[in-house]
Symmetry: C2
Subunit: 335 residues, 2 copies
């Protein structure tokens, strides 16, 4: 292939050399449409105009990606609203990609995110994800990444989370104060830091309270479809717990349904607390005590950091990490 | 610009003429990566290989857009799952754009969808939308569009909906059978066909039952933030209804909260039925009678039609229209 320079681009696009030059510098004098044409041809022909080429190339999409496990969850839909509230002020589009808790999907999605389609990625990883290579490729390709809620260790980039360990501790202490002696922690993953941290908080609280090993349970509900029957089995076993901590929102409905089905009274027979931002929490039967995560704020903060990374290549995302605390809202399910 | 032909493309990409030719015909012998490169350069240089050029050009994104008002709604999250189940079998990405019930947002989103980013659009319109021009531009640019759930009249393209009129009638008759004499219909829009059709069903039922004009109410809750106080006011008025039809899911929580707050017993004082796919419906206090829409199936059917339109330019989407019926699930809120 012959050497590509501004003249070649100008000839091919039938534009002046100065227009091409301005377009490559992202000048306000040039229309977005023309900039797009110029950048596309420059990319196509592998023309690297200057050290900022990649950043200019990136700028053209005016789009960020949000990669998350699912949207049938109030936490994620509120977080999306927080993200969108920032993106709107920046004139950016938000594209939502769902991994459906599949590592393979997540990988394909992130490959797609490297095609110049987006300028940055906000990600909350799938429950299957336990490696970092597919995510590391993004910053390596100058696409900033910010984790929100579900992060992946082993990647040095910004993350916005909530105080999961403290809340695991706080939720468990709340149950213990209400008289629970056989607590069970319901998790969905053995690798997701949010689950691990909440679990560590749970373990610390039961240890401190002197609950014997055999009186506490840690249960993994990894399959959405079998969650209901799995929880029913636990509630029918001779080691029936008298307090449940649902470490994520989607465990709530199967827990309530199983209790109703088995005529197990919440909170008399079993007390329930859940990590959830469910807006139906106060109208459930009984109203659900929740650790309510600041979902909207987490989305907002993560997007704010991402735009700093997009707008200023010198901004060091590696140094950013933010923890926004959750709150316990007491309702009748732990009375 | 000099005439562009296959030879020019082959030279620039350092590929053989036959490879280029096969790539342009979308041959299985050629890798996706190579096809992408060829199509990009062909597009860039305005090389029109044959009458199917535009369809080939389109194919390169391997992405469809889903444009919808919000995701904090079980209907839409289930519909997305249905859409994704089809897209996955086709090897397509699904991008989700949220209009947040804003017509202006929806317009910008659809402009973005015309930039070659997506091969087709599935849309459920915002509650503010009451014109069709911004949507008509898509089929005019060879981007097939299929409506799901919330359609826009005045556009001749495929739509997958549910039997809204029948369900409005069915919901109202259910309340009347349970003894309701002063029914109120809670809507969120004066223009959305789903709301209008459900309302028409309501009107037909009350007319047939001989309910006097002054005993029925139609209430528009158009603002998410004021919904709760608006519903409270209605329940405190001297014309308090004894039966409520929530025409969309997001009306449910404010209705329950207002009743709890005012010590109004559901179903003794007021019976409630809602158009909802809420998975917490059976665990609410009391369990909620719903008109449950086949959200997953609607998403699946809409995506299936869209891919027919994408894959076969001769497939006439205008002639397609599908109605998948909803079902009434009786629970204690209308006992």
């Amino acid at each position: 292939m012959s050497k590509v320079n501004i003249k070649v681009l100008a000839d091919q696009l039938q534009l002046s050399v100065s227009t091409i030059s301005k377009a490559l510098r992202d000048s306000y004098e040039i229309s977005d449409e023309t900039k797009k044409k110029v950048m596309e041809l420059a990319t196509q022909l592998n023309y690297i105009p200057n050290p900022y080429a990649s950043s200019l190339r990136k700028k053209k999409s005016k789009t960020i990606a949000v990669v998350l496990p699912e949207v049938a969850d109030n936490f994620f839909s509120l977080a999306i609203n927080g993200i969108q509230s920032i993106a709107e002020t920046k004139g950016y589009h938000v594209l939502i990609y769902l991994s459906h808790e599949s590592f393979a999907n997540e990988k394909t999605i992130l490959e797609d995110c490297q095609s110049g389609r987006v300028d940055g990625v906000l990600i909350s990883i799938s429950s299957e994800t336990n490696s970092a290579d597919h995510i590391n490729k993004l910053p390596a390709n100058n696409i900033p990444v910010v984790f929100f809620d579900r992060e992946q260790e082993g990647i040095e980039t910004a993350r916005v989370t909530t105080n999961d360990f403290d809340c695991g501790l706080m939720a468990t202490n709340h149950l213990l104060e209400k008289g629970v002696r056989k607590p069970a922690f319901l998790s969905i993953s053995q690798s997701l830091p949010i689950c691990l941290n909440r679990l560590e908080g749970f373990k610390a609280a039961v240890r401190e309270a002197g609950i014997p090993e055999e009186d506490m349970q840690i249960i993994y509900c990894t399959d959405n479809d079998s969650m209901y029957s799995q929880i029913k089995k636990i509630l029918q076993s001779e080691h029936r717990p008298d307090g449940l901590i649902a470490s994520v929102e989607k465990i709530v409905t199967p827990v309530y349904l199983a209790c109703h089905e088995l005529n197990i009274n919440i909170p008399k027979d079993v007390k329930v607390i859940a990590f959830a931002t469910l807006d139906t929490a106060p109208i459930l039967n009984p109203p659900l005590t929740t650790i309510t995560q600041p979902a909207f704020e987490i989305g907002k903060a993560a997007a704010t950091l991402l735009f700093k990374g997009i707008e200023k290549s010198t901004f060091d995302l590696k140094k950013e990490s933010m923890v926004i605390p959750s709150v316990l809202i007491e309702r009748e399910s732990t009375l």
